[in-house]
């Protein structure tokens, strides 16, 4: 599911809050993006760490 980050101070959510479509309900998401109130938010996957397991 797409997530969005709040980028203005005019929403009921504080700036920086991450929302998904469920949180936004009946709100027109494109309108909020066009207005600069939210922007799409991509979650970075954590880098894979190599495990140095040795077999006995």
């Amino acid at each position: 599911m797409a997530t969005y980050i709040v980028t203005s101070d005019r929403l009921i959510w504080k700036r920086g809050t991450v929302l998904d479509a469920t949180d936004l309900g009946d709100v027109n998401i494109d309108g909020l993006i066009d207005g600069g109130h939210i922007s799409t938010h991509s979650v970075k996957k954590p880098a894979k760490t190599k495990t140095n397991e040795t077999e006995d």
Partner: protein, 140 residues
Amino acid sequence: MATSVYLSNPNVTINSVSLQDQCTSATVNYVYEQLETTAFGDTARKFGGSTVTSLQNNSIEVELYQSYAGSETEATIYGLVGIQTTLIVAPASGVVGATNPFYTLVGAYLESHTPINASLGELSTVTLTFTGGVLTKTTS
């Protein structure tokens, strides 16, 4: 004793964006279309009835100061023309309650907008009329 309402700090939210500080006027019209149910034998015209439910025909009209700054009036409104959105209007900015009911219009359509409405020496304003949608009143 009768009481009157002095609106100084109403809550106006358009598409979840609070434009309270740009708004100077808000009117919520709650309408059910009038259907005539007069029949033979009646001596006066009748409209509606306990078993007749007509369509809502609601609208909200707001007047806003125009601003082209980021996240302000123009940025918020321009993208809403021709689509449906949700508006919330309340008499005051406090929490919802019996004395501060929230009127929510879901699925309201904005047909037109006036991006430039400027006169020399005056603050630019825009008047918007959102029509259609289902109006609900929340008191808790």
